[in-house]
Symmetry: C3
Subunit: 262 residues, 3 copies
């Protein structure tokens, strides 16, 4: 039986990119279940993709994890497949996208460069490695192929990292459709900044300021009240109950947000 | 073998919410087929979700039906799993979302409160019961678990209902991307209002007025002509052939539309 | 075992249309794997759907290929199922949508009119043949039903064609979310127009003009530079490296683009 494959990308839904990758997988590994985590990562937003991937994999079955947010496609950036400490297999561009996930999953145990993998679809399109390299590699791994048969081994430490943000100055990493804004900040970072549960906080961004309550849930604050809360992924997030924090602070993924006690 | 699971929500496609729920299901019930009905329900639009769910389930295989449109997540609203008269199992928040569907499916035969279900993912995030409560319950039901092992039984009549709209004053329940507007109105409601097939009608909303033909299909009216028709879900809908009724009347889901003969 | 089914449409993601078709398929052919190619074809854009379908099927497993972009639903246009020369089975409206794909797949070997197919869902909604005709036909084909049992045979040459665009005057067939614009133009058409690889070209549309380099990949031109390149589907495409060609030329699918040497 084939391993399940999760799939995350910035391909969006207007085009057939994600669908064609799934078609390629279905041709090579017809028995593999494919679970679309999301294809709604902002275009080229490697940092956002990395954060979403890392927190989603904690909930996914052990298997193959395909991720493609790849602004450097067609350049010399490496295409890789890696095995994490817990046995999961991750496939994608080596641009930092995979690193936060593998760091959470026990680190990189083995890594291969699949840029010239023998299972590629020839000719490889310079602009669509998802279809021609990453999807075939993921599908063959789901079928039980060994890493070393799909690419050239290299030192696991060679996998690229992402820049880590500072702790009091946070960044918006995701804005959902309700206008809630996830930050690159863990709850454990807040006490050091003097921000305490049930107390008031202030968030400033783009010169705008929002004051509210550091609460447990939306239901704990009145309608229209801003809140800071630990979201379902254990990241800190800004929201306005039945409103939009993103709108109030004009936030988009990547924007800097400074948190202080109010 | 596992039961199939249908899945409807207001999670949208930009975020990984629906994908993470699918990941949770795949981990617990790897053999269950998951059929996404839609994740495009407007945010927090319980009424729209209820109508879409009720009409979609008529076409779905008998199985487990997961639905999450849940503005009250984190409050005291009940999380439930219910068995309908025809054997289908519905899982979601007890805020009216499930009621029109179960009413069409033979009513509620058994109901359990799964708010503290033993199969929850601990700790339960205050803002993401889809992942931590509803998806695990749906997956275990697909695997054959019994309702009574997943929650506390309560009286079936206790399931919350939605408000029912009036008959001549209708509401837009869904606007599709073509600008067609589904109304909370059945064909059988129209004669009482003096609106007859093949005759002229008028629709007014926001002080704007649209006159057209009560027709069978788009092809029955010229380009640019408004029409009232029974849509594929047997709901009455407003459209403009190759145009947008939503734009002409500035309609969004929830808006009031008054129908009269023209 | 059932054949896999690919599914392409202009149903979008806001509504349950595609999900309900998948529900219908799951009820009839529970063992068939369904691969959504995309449901993001622009509403009623038959030409765009035809081009996307033709290039996607080259990557899909042999099976049943359901495609619904159907502005004439409810009129007298024929609903068809056809067998291509390579054994694939295509199902959809006979409005030109299927033709470029079957032409690439060895032409039409057999064709049946399924407008009154015995496997339809009764009553057939005048506006939703996807659910009531096409999905059931696709599902029964996946289960191994024979074409001749699902409809009335007709002469294969009777399948409708699309208009073919001129060669130097191209059209935008797809704009992706990065603002890249695919054209209805093959690389082999360019030399005749005096446009050579590595040389400068000019594109004009709506009275606007864009000059750039006919390159291999984004990485070959500096940031901000326009490029003409062969995309992953072997179609010529316009882009601006880290920018939007669509915005610069105000392009939408269907718009005319004139290409010349610069």
């Amino acid at each position: 039986v084939a391993l399940p494959i999760t799939f995350l990308s910035d391909y969006g839904y207007d085009d057939e990119f994600a669908g064609v990758c799934r078609a390629v997988i279905a041709r090579i590994a017809p028995d593999a279940t494919v679970i679309d985590l999301t294809h709604g990562i902002a275009p080229h937003a490697v940092h956002q993709g990395a954060v979403v991937l890392a927190r989603a994999l904690a909930y996914a079955p052990v298997g193959v994890h395909l991720a493609v947010v790849d602004p450097g496609v067609g350049s010399e950036r490496r295409a890789v497949a890696v095995e994490a400490g817990d046995g999961r297999l991750l496939v994608g561009p080596d641009n930092g996208l995979l690193r936060p996930a593998v760091d959470r999953l026990g680190g990189v145990v083995r890594a291969v460069d699949v840029s010239a993998t023998p299972v590629r679809l020839d000719p490889v399109a310079a602009t669509f490695h998802g279809r021609d390299i990453f999807a075939p590699v993921a599908a063959h791994l789901a079928n039980g192929a060994r890493l070393e048969d799909l690419g050239e081994a290299f030192e696991p430490e060679g996998i690229h990292a992402l820049e880590v943000a500072s702790r009091v100055v946070a960044h918006a990493v995701a804005v959902d459709r309700f206008g809630n804004v996830a930050l690159d900040l863990a709850e454990s970072d807040l006490p050091a900044a003097g921000i305490e549960r049930e107390e008031r906080f202030a968030a400033t961004a783009h010169g705008r300021r929002l004051e509210g309550t550091y609460a447990r849930a939306f239901a704990d604050v009145p309608e229209g009240e801003p809140l800071l809360y630990r979201d379902a992924a254990d990241a800190m997030a800004l929201a306005v109950n039945r409103g939009s924090a993103a709108e109030r602070l004009a936030l988009e993924p990547g924007a800097e947000v400074v948190l202080t006690p109010a």
